[in-house]
Amino acid sequence: MIEIRTHGRGGQGAVIASEILADAFFREDKFVQAFPAFGVERRGAPVMSFTRISDSEIRERCQIYEPDHLIVLDPILIETVNVTSGLKEGGWIIINTNRSMEESELTRKFKVAAIDANTIAIKYGLGSRATPIVNTAILGAFAGATKLVSLDAVLTAIGEFVPAKKENNRKATEEAYNSVITIE
């Protein structure tokens, strides 16, 4: 089983990201499960969501405390929330940032994939300049870096789950897939 935890802020699309990801793996014949860490959602507040992927039926119905991989929609969260808590050594951190991660301490224990999802989201008119919706871009980076799921499956899942601007969301995903920078 692969367990993925997504960290973001209310409004960035973290919860839908975990659902799209589950749907993408479903399209590759995996058993999947996705759900949010249930708070009273507020725009800007730290949020978490979870995705499980398995070759057999998933029975665990609880939050993920020791994820295999992390998706981080807001790099500031690393300073305010213990996002790497429980992350397995050698796991991927897919992070939305416009800075180089080469010197980051995170690269000592984990594989890091950096993508400037804000710029990509703004380019394709996803959300506003102040609060871009970065979930589809970061999923492109996830697929590009980890190769755990195909770009096609992610694009199909976006068609299923994203309510508006489907084409622009797909373009953002593709651009992130092709431009993600990985440090292994």
């Binding site: 749907d23 999947v32 996705a34 029975r59 665990e60 119905r61 299923e160």
Partner: protein, 383 residues
């Protein structure tokens, strides 16, 4: 068609397939998406039903009572305080013998306000005369809605389907979605034996004198007793049609088990992963999920648990001043028939996560400790 959908939408898709004519609900977290999707389906004409907007859950259940008395299928969904506000009318649905189906998303009752799961809302309605079925997966949830209408109409009693807030209601997983044309072969259009009909006037809900009321209560109990077999038969028939069945209880690796954990809801699912882990270590342990809570499946429970050396009941609820409610039910079901020791564990109230680690702690205690307090053990409480 297989799709990745949330638990609440699994409820909606179940209802969509059942030719329900009246929907009425008042929004409450974490139930909201159930009726959100149903109202969209009504608006688009995907289902041919009347959606009655109301100002409270009391009115929602009252609308269902009226619709059901008029001879059509009626459905509502709610949670916590909403279910409690329905309480008076829940009794009415039973006394009037109306086959209404209700989905209750288990949410802890305030204060303090909580939107997270525990079972005290539905279990506090234990004695009203509604059947209660607890689900653990989105697939089971959708399928149980369809079964619920058939059961309700057979025994002429309302059915409450229960699922955990968020751990099921907001969890996305794969569901094989039922279509109305296929369900119709299993659940034909509803024809009420008696109904409000202006051309054939009767009196409904009239005064029942002491010479009648007693017998009507006796008949409700007889219907409940009959429901034990009906729930089983409907499940078997459902399996013949759709290839999926759930039983009234679900024993897992109970053969030769010294210790059996009794579970319900999503905890039942997580527990099976723990059982496998412990079996791999050579520990003789199994689990028994209680799916049907009312009527209580006494014989099925006895048959499984009487073979164990110890029984450990996990309750995500508490009857203040006594014990966990499933614990009481198990004790009562086994009383006088076996001397197997029964231990009670309370955990997960107000949405506290019940992880494999928590279940393992309960299991380890049940396996090793002979002298622990039997009736009530609090797991994870920080005091």
């Amino acid at each position: 068609m297989r799709k990745v959908i949330m638990g609440n939408h699994a409820v909606s898709y179940g209802v969509r397939a059942c030719d329900v004519k009246v929907l009425s609900a008042y929004p409450i977290t974490p139930q909201t998406q159930v009726v959100e999707l149903l109202s969209e389906m009504c608006a688009s004409g995907e289902i041919d039903a009347k959606f009655i907007k109301v100002e409270s859950e009391h009115s929602a259940m009252t609308a269902c009572v009226g619709a059901s008395a008029a001879g059509v299928r009626a459905f509502t969904a709610t949670s916590a305080q909403g279910l409690l506000l329905m309480h008076e009318v829940l009794h009415w649905a039973v006394g009037a013998r109306l086959p209404i189906v209700l989905a209750n998303i288990n949410r802890a009752v305030g204060p303090p306000w909580s939107i997270w799961t525990d079972q005290n809302d539905s279990l506090s309605q234990r004695d009203v005369g509604w059947l209660q079925i607890y689900c653990e997966s989105n697939q089971e949830t959708q399928d149980t809605i369809v079964q619920a209408f058939k059961i309700a109409e057979t025994v002429k009693l309302p059915v409450m389907l229960v699922l955990d807030a968020f751990f099921l209601s907001h969890t996305f997983e794969i569901v094989d979605i039922l279509e109305a044309k296929d369900v119709r072969k299993f659940l034909p259009p509803y024809v009420a034996e008696t109904k409000i009909d202006v051309d054939d006037p009767h009196s409904f809900g009239n005064l029942g004198s002491p010479s009648e009321y007693f017998e009507l209560r006796y008949m409700i109990q007889k219907a409940m007793e009959e429901a034990r077999d009906v729930v089983k038969d409907v499940d078997i028939e459902f399996k013949e049609h759709f290839g999926r069945g759930y039983g009234v209880v679900h024993p897992y690796r109970c053969d030769g088990a010294d210790v059996i954990l009794v579970t319900s809801g999503t905890v039942a699912s997580t527990t099976r992963a723990v059982i496998d882990e412990m079996r791999d270590e050579g520990i003789k342990i199994g689990s028994l999920k209680i799916r049907l809570f009312r009527p209580f499946p006494v014989e099925e429970v006895y048959e499984v648990l009487s073979k164990a050396k110890k029984v450990a009941v996990i309750d995500r609820n508490i009857s203040f001043g006594h014990h966990g409610i499933f614990f009481q039910e198990i004790k009562s079901a086994l009383y006088g028939r076996t001397d197997v020791p029964i231990f009670g564990y309370i955990t997960g109230l107000g949405g506290r996560d019940v992880t494999p680690k928590v279940i393992r702690e309960i299991a380890d205690r049940a396996v090793s400790d002979e002298k622990q307090e039997r009736d009530i053990n609090w797991i994870g409480v920080k005091v």
